[in-house]
């Protein structure tokens, strides 16, 4: 059993204590006095340096610690909890914003799909992709050690950047993983043909980081037209409003001010 120093949320306060961890359970001493079976855990979320552990009995434990301790806890939980889990090779992140990550490499480890996220676990790292931030799942081909293999490509949004990861495992397992992930994130699917070409182009330009003014100029459309396309994209849940820009004209007082200001 390993003893780990953590801060645990208890009664609205953060309490410093040492928890005991082994392959089967986490034992939390007083004042919490609880024992959590790892198999009873069905979800794990990570927000900065805080781990949120949820159990089948709807218990939630929030704890914080240094990265090394959190790494031990995450690994034990992800490998032992109730989840769809498989051994696989993964490369994450492989592409950031359309640019290949230079030092990206295949790592041997496990993939675990929990209630709220997909976890990649290897000896060195644990990476979580929250399911509600998954922007795409595809079966594609990729060259691995000189051979072309089918891989699952998972894209997600992180700090407004699109990050792409790849998973490689035997083909039958890969198909099961792909179907499972597709089903889990089906609410985010957009049917092809749901958008006309112009709206699709506008969506692509927003993706690339263009603002409204740039989009209007690039595809030569009026503000009225772009507003109607935005309405369509908002209605389909593809974009959200981050800022409403105002157009103004000068009042008489304003005109007077400008005229005065140019006099020498």
């Amino acid at each position: 059993m390993t003893q780990l120093p953590v801060k645990l949320e208890h009664g609205g306060e953060w309490v410093s204590l040492k928890i005991d961890l082994d392959e089967e359970k986490i034992v939390i001493p007083e004042p919490v006095s609880a024992e959590i079976k790892i198999k009873a855990i069905d979800d794990l979320e990570e927000k900065k340096n805080i781990l949120i552990i949820s159990t089948k009995k709807s218990e939630t434990i929030k704890l914080a610690s240094v990265p090394k301790v959190l790494q031990l806890l995450k690994r034990a939980i992800i490998m032992g909890c109730t989840a769809y889990r498989l051994t696989a090779y993964f490369m994450s992140p492989a592409i950031r914003g359309g640019v290949m990550v230079k030092d990206a490499k295949w790592e041997k480890g496990a993939i675990a799909v929990l209630k709220t996220g997909i976890w990649f676990v290897s000896k060195e790292k644990q990476i979580c992709i929250p399911l509600d931030e998954v922007s795409g799942i595809e079966l594609t081909k990729r060259e691995v050690q000189g051979r072309e293999n089918e891989v699952v490509q998972i894209s997600h949004i992180e700090n407004e950047e699109v990050i792409t990861s790849f998973v490689l495992c035997p083909l039958t397992t890969l198909q099961i993983l792909f179907n499972y992930l597709k089903d889990t994130t089906k609410d985010l699917d957009v049917l092809s043909g749901e958008l006309d070409d112009m709206s699709a182009q506008v969506a692509m330009l927003v993706y690339s980081g263009m603002d409204t003014h740039a989009i209007e100029n690039m595809i030569s459309i009026s503000n009225k037209k772009i507003e109607s396309i935005y309405d369509k994209l908002i209605e389909k849940g593809l974009v959200e409003v981050v800022m409403t820009r105002r157009e103004v004209k000068l009042t008489t007082k304003g005109v007077r001010f400008v005229n005065e200001s140019v006099k020498t």
Partner: protein
Amino acid sequence: MGRILVVDDTMFMRTLLKNILFSGSHDIVGEAENGEDAVEKYKALKPDLVTMDVVMPKMNGIEALKAIMAADPNAKIVMCTAVGQEQMVKLAIKTGAKGYIVKPFQAPKVLEEVNNVLSS
């Protein structure tokens, strides 16, 4: 800051890339819509960097890359591909491409890659 030639068969993609590169303080010295045009414009304009689409009519991006590298072994070319064309990318890198971006792309990352290649 660099003088850049943008090569892509779709006007939409060329316009998007030009906007992104311009916002990163680069000068667009020309654009081409196929490989043949790209090779000619490269020889005439001598840009610091080329963004080169892979799949294009007349002469594709790989052939254009080979022709440009033959004319100027120090040419800095960034390939621009769609996901699933990674095989082409490998061939392009072997042929001398200095970088590559995958469509769809995001502006900050495109600028990062272009700046890296320009300063290499």
